[in-house]
C-alpha cells in the first residue's frame, strides 16, 4: 500500500512536470501548425511509456539508491571515519586525508552519469544523426569520465576552500583551446553534453556529497561551499568529449599509417 501511494505520488509529480510541455506541444500543433501528427497513436503510447518509466525510475531511486548514497556520503566525510576517532582530528585540514572522498566522488560521478536518462537520449540521437560515426556508448563513457573527474576536483575545491570562479575560468580556457583543435563535428555535441549530465540521478547525490563535506570541514559554510559541484560536473564533460574525439582521431590516424605501411 505504502509502495502504491508512493508510486501514485511520483506519477502525479512527473505528470505535473510534463503538463506544461504537453500543453505547449498540443497548443502549437492544433492552433499554429494545424497538421495531424503522423502515427499519433504511437506518439501517445511513447509519452505514456516515458511518463511511466520516469515515475518508476524516480521512485526506485528515492526508495533505494538516494538514501544509501546520502548515508555513504555522510559516513565518508565523517571525521570519525577519516581520523579513526574524534581525538585525532587535527586543527589544520590536510587535503590528502580525504582520499576516499575523492575516490567516491569519482566513482559515483562515473556510475550515475552512465545511467542518466537525458544523456542516453542525446547519445541515441547523436549516433543516429552522425550515421554511426559517433557511437552512443562512446559518447556516454566520455561524458561519464568528465563528470567523474569534475566531481572529484570539485570535492578537492571544497576541502581546500579555494575560489570556485578560479577553477571555472581555468576550465573555460582549456575548453577554448580544445575547441581550436578538436574535430569540428564533435564541438556542438561536446557543448551540449555539459548540460545534460546533471539532471535526475546525479544532482541529488552530488548535493548530498557537497553538503556533507562542507558541513564537516571546519571553516566551510555548507551554504556557500556546498554549491558548485554541479558546475564542475557541467564543465568537465565538455573537455572529456572533445578529448575523446581528439584521441580517436589520433588513433585513427596511426591506424591509417599502419594500414599504409602494411599496404607498402
Amino acid at each position: 500500500m505504502n509502495m502504491l501511494d508512493m508510486f501514485v505520488d511520483t506519477m502525479l509529480s512527473t505528470l505535473r512536470d510534463v503538463l506544461p510541455i504537453a500543453a505547449v506541444l498540443l497548443g502549437f500543433q492544433l492552433l499554429v501548425l494545424r497538421q495531424s501528427i503522423p502515427q499519433l497513436w504511437s506518439v501517445i503510447r511513447g509519452f505514456a511509456y516515458v511518463l511511466l518509466g520516469l515515475a518508476l525510475f524516480l521512485m526506485g531511486l528515492q526508495e533505494a539508491i538516494f538514501p544509501l548514497g546520502e548515508v555513504m556520503a555522510k559516513q565518508l566525510t565523517d571525521p570519525h571515519f577519516l581520523y579513526g576517532s574524534a581525538a585525532h582530528i587535527p586543527e589544520l585540514i590536510r587535503w590528502q586525508d580525504y582520499g576516499w572522498v575523492y575516490v567516491f566522488a569519482f566513482a559515483i560521478g562515473l556510475a550515475t552519469t552512465l545511467a542518466e536518462p537525458a544523456l542516453i537520449a542525446v547519445g541515441i540521437k547523436a549516433q543516429q544523426v552522425s550515421g554511426g560515426a559517433i557511437s552512443a556508448w562512446g559518447l556516454r563513457i566520455a561524458v561519464s569520465f568528465g563528470v567523474a573527474a569534475g566531481v572529484s576536483i570539485g570535492c578537492f575545491r571544497i576541502v581546500t576552500g579555494t575560489d570556485l570562479w578560479l577553477y571555472v575560468v581555468a576550465a573555460y580556457v582549456v575548453v577554448i583551446i580544445q575547441t581550436r583543435f578538436a574535430p569540428r563535428m564533435i564541438i556542438p555535441l561536446a557543448y551540449d553534453s555539459g548540460g545534460v549530465t546533471t539532471s535526475t540521478v546525479t544532482v541529488p547525490l552530488l548535493a548530498a556529497l557537497g553538503l556533507g563535506l562542507a558541513s564537516t570541514i571546519p571553516g566551510r559554510s555548507p551554504l556557500i561551499d556546498g554549491f558548485g559541484l554541479i558546475a564542475f560536473a557541467s564543465v568537465f564533460p565538455i573537455m572529456s568529449v572533445m578529448g575523446y574525439a581528439q584521441l580517436s582521431r589520433i588513433m585513427g590516424k596511426s591506424q591509417q599509417i599502419k594500414e599504409a605501411d602494411n599496404a607498402l
Binding site: D17, P20, I21, V24, L25, F28, V32, L33, Q39, S42, V43, G46, F47, Y49, V50, L52, G53, A55, L56, F57, M59, G60, L61, E63, L68, V71, L76, F81, W100, A107, L110, A111, T112, L114, A115, P117, A118, V122, I124, K125, A126, V129, L164, W165, V169, V175, I176, P188, Y191, G194, G195, V196, T200, V203, L223, I224, F227, G228, I230, A233
Partner: protein, 245 residues
C-alpha cells in the same frame, strides 16, 4: 513476433548494463571501505528493479514518442516558414519546461536561504519566498531566451563555438561584479535547468530543424541548444544578484 519481443527486451538489457556500475560502486564502498552491511537489502533490490524497468520504458518511449514528435514538429515549422511562431514555440518550450522543474525549485529555495543569511534580503518567510520565486522566473526566462537564441543560430548558421565563447566571456566579466553569495548558485543553475524530458525534445527539435533547412548539417548545427540553455541561466542569475543587492 520476434521483432516485438526483441524491441521489448533490448532496452531492459541495456538498462541493466547502465545500472551495473552504480551497484558496483555501492557494494565496493559499503563492503570494502566503510565495512558496513547494506541496510534494507530487500528495499534496495526492489528499488533497483523499479529503476531498471523505468529506464527501459523511458528509452522505448523516447524512440516511439518524443523523438518522432519533436522531429515532426520541427519539419512542420520549417515547412510553414513562419519565424515568429517558431521562436515563440522555442521560448515557451524553454520557459514551460523550466518553471516547473523540481531541481530548480529546490535550488531556488536554498539560494533564498543563503541570501537571507548573507543579509541581502530580510530574514522572513515572505521575503525568502519572494526571492526564490523571482529567481525561478529569472532562470525560466533565461532558458526560454536561450532556446530562442539557439534556434536563431540554427536558422542563421552562426558557428556555435563563437557564440559559446562570447557567452563565457560574459560569464567571466559578470562574475567580477556579482555578489559572492550568488556565484555558486548561478554556476549551478546552469546545470539544473535541463530536465530529463526537455533534453530529448529540444534535441529532436534542433536536429529536425537543421535537417529540414537546406545548407544546415544536423550534426554541426542541430546540437547546441542545450549548451545555450546551460550558459544563459548563469548570466541571468548573476545579473539578478547584482540587481537585488
Amino acid at each position: 513476433m520476434w521483432n516485438t519481443f526483441h524491441d521489448a527486451v533490448r532496452p531492459l538489457v541495456e538498462a541493466a548494463r547502465d545500472l551495473t556500475p552504480i551497484i558496483a560502486v555501492i557494494l565496493f564502498f559499503q563492503e570494502v571501505v566503510l565495512q558496513q552491511p547494506i541496510p534494507n537489502l530487500g528495499d534496495l533490490l526492489a528499488g533497483l528493479l523499479f529503476v531498471l524497468i523505468g529506464l527501459a520504458l523511458f528509452v522505448r518511449g523516447l524512440e516511439i514518442g518524443l523523438f518522432p514528435l519533436g522531429e515532426a514538429m520541427a519539419h512542420a515549422f520549417a515547412k510553414k516558414g513562419n519565424v515568429f511562431w517558431l521562436l515563440l514555440f522555442a521560448f515557451l518550450l524553454g520557459f514551460g519546461t523550466t518553471v516547473a522543474e523540481p531541481a530548480l525549485i529546490a535550488v531556488a529555495g536554498k539560494a533564498a536561504k543563503v541570501a537571507a543569511e548573507g543579509g541581502v534580503i530580510e530574514h522572513s518567510r515572505m521575503a525568502m519566498a519572494d526571492y526564490a520565486f523571482n529567481l525561478r522566473m529569472t532562470v525560466a526566462l533565461s532558458v526560454g531566451t536561450a532556446i530562442v537564441l539557439g534556434v536563431l543560430r540554427i536558422l542563421s548558421g552562426w558557428p556555435l563555438h563563437l557564440c559559446i565563447m562570447a557567452g563565457y566571456a560574459l560569464v567571466v566579466a559578470i562574475t567580477y561584479f556579482a555578489p559572492e553569495e550568488i556565484i555558486g548558485i548561478a554556476y549551478d543553475s546552469g546545470g539544473v535547468t535541463t530536465s530529463t524530458i526537455t533534453v530529448p525534445l529540444v534535441t529532436a527539435l534542433g536536429v529536425g530543424l537543421a535537417a529540414s533547412i537546406r545548407g544546415r548539417n544536423p550534426v554541426l548545427d542541430g546540437f547546441g541548444l542545450i549548451a545555450f540553455a546551460s550558459l544563459l541561466p548563469m548570466i541571468f542569475v548573476m545579473l539578478y544578484g547584482i540587481v537585488t543587492a
